[in-house]
Symmetry: C2
Subunit: 257 residues, 2 copies
């Protein structure tokens, strides 16, 4: 969302955050697909140019199904990040971190292999990163996040990866701690930024960019209490949410369709 607003300030954006059912990363494929279908069904009640899956877990685990079920473009973060990683690596050794579901899916490796067939992908699920980020433990010098980062990433560092895909949209908040640990020769790929750039490229290609001199409107919807969302949202957006946020019942929203 932060990257979309930065790259495409004139677009209207409808945001849905499934705060009543997150985190998705430890759930099964079947449950992730079920929830993602309901989420998109709600978004489709608006008139949209495209749907952006700004979540690594849904992008790796449910994209095939979602793309097939919709006639408008459905974009995720995997293909753009895989493309960026394949271009960035010099030694062909790419690290990949994500949620348990994302790592289990194998989707990133398949996507990287399409662009760089000889690349080796070293992967690791990092289930503690999401709760640590949401607790605000993102700063260098914090022994807790530094210990966990070191445990998860030491094997990749030892294997000499020169590129590391941050395959979950929470992880860019750990960019400083991860960069400090991996060192200056490792390129970090921000899946949120790559995903947003792909959306901008698509709209440009399709001649569908909003053209006006004023900023677009953002509407926010969540499935749990609005107050809890606005607190955490400012951490991710790096600015306060000043627009109205509305709570919806995501199960019934989907049932209406």
């Amino acid at each position: 969302m932060a990257e979309m607003k930065r790259l495409l300030p004139e677009e209207d954006i409808v945001y849905f955050g499934d705060t009543g059912r997150v985190p998705y990363g430890g759930r099964s494929k079947e449950t992730i697909i079920k929830y993602a279908r309901e989420d998109i069904a709600f978004l489709r009640t608006f008139d949209l140019k495209a749907v952006v899956i700004a979540c690594g877990t849904v992008s790796t685990t449910a994209m095939d199904v979602l793309v097939e079920e919709h006639t408008i473009p459905v974009l995720g973060v995997v293909a753009p990040s895989a493309h960026a990683a394949a271009r960035a690596t010099r030694n062909g050794r790419i690290g990949l971190i994500g949620t348990q579901a994302s790592i289990r899916s194998g989707m990133y490796e398949r996507s990287i292999a399409l662009e760089h067939p000889t690349a080796t992908v070293l992967k690791r699920a990092c289930p503690l990163f999401v709760p640590l980020v949401e607790s605000g433990r993102i700063h260098p010098g914090d022994i807790v996040i530094e210990t966990v980062v070191s445990e998860y990433l030491q094997p990749m560092k030892d294997a000499g990866v020169d590129t590391l895909v941050l395959g979950c949209t929470h992880y860019p908040l750990l960019e400083e701690v991860i960069a400090d640990f991996m060192g200056p020769n490792v390129t970090l790929i921000n899946s949120g930024a790559e995903g947003a750039a792909a959306v901008a490229a698509l709209l440009q290609r399709e001649n569908a960019l909003a053209c006006r001199a004023t900023p677009g409107a953002c509407r926010y919807f969540v499935s749990d209490r609005v107050e809890d969302f606005t607190q955490i949202a400012s951490l991710f957006l790096r600015q306060d949410v000043t627009e109205t946020v509305t709570q919806i019942d995501i199960t019934n929203a989907a049932a209406l369709l």
Copy 2:
């Protein structure tokens, strides 16, 4: 569940774990009540003597509503733990840790005040404990769990509490680390064990105990993939789940009623 099986081995138990929507601890009161209603509606499709809320968050946040909506006894972990804490304290200073929702509810303090009106309750939400326990970081010597325990509990130690309520049913897995930090003069109250003892007392009082020479049957239901549950369940039950586990659709299970 572990404590129930230990205290009441002859009872048949129907277990439901809402694995597709956990953790509840960071959600709003409204969402917790909605989910808990659906969970109990599913359990009520069986012929039950009582419903046991083996979850600190639901016990603190939804009990009033749930008790009122059902004609069979609905028992939680708050009243039994409050009773145990009020009896255990010598200096009247009681510590309380739980999820964000549990701490926000104020339910433990009200319950303790009924039994020990002059007691002071120092409380603290510990949102990282559940993900750390579920990642298996429960052992003394682990710098991550020890740092987090020390941050959350130092103010209570400084204040001289002599009793600490582990107000979430995940926390007894941290008993060793917490006991090491708090020292031998602090009594830890295990809300799961206290809750199970209250169920046993109720069944005895009502003359409703199962009387037979063979162990009762346990049936397990979950709302996400069975395989992921059986892995984590053995950590909590301290034994493998050998019975059949069945996945259900909790939203539709409730809609049927």
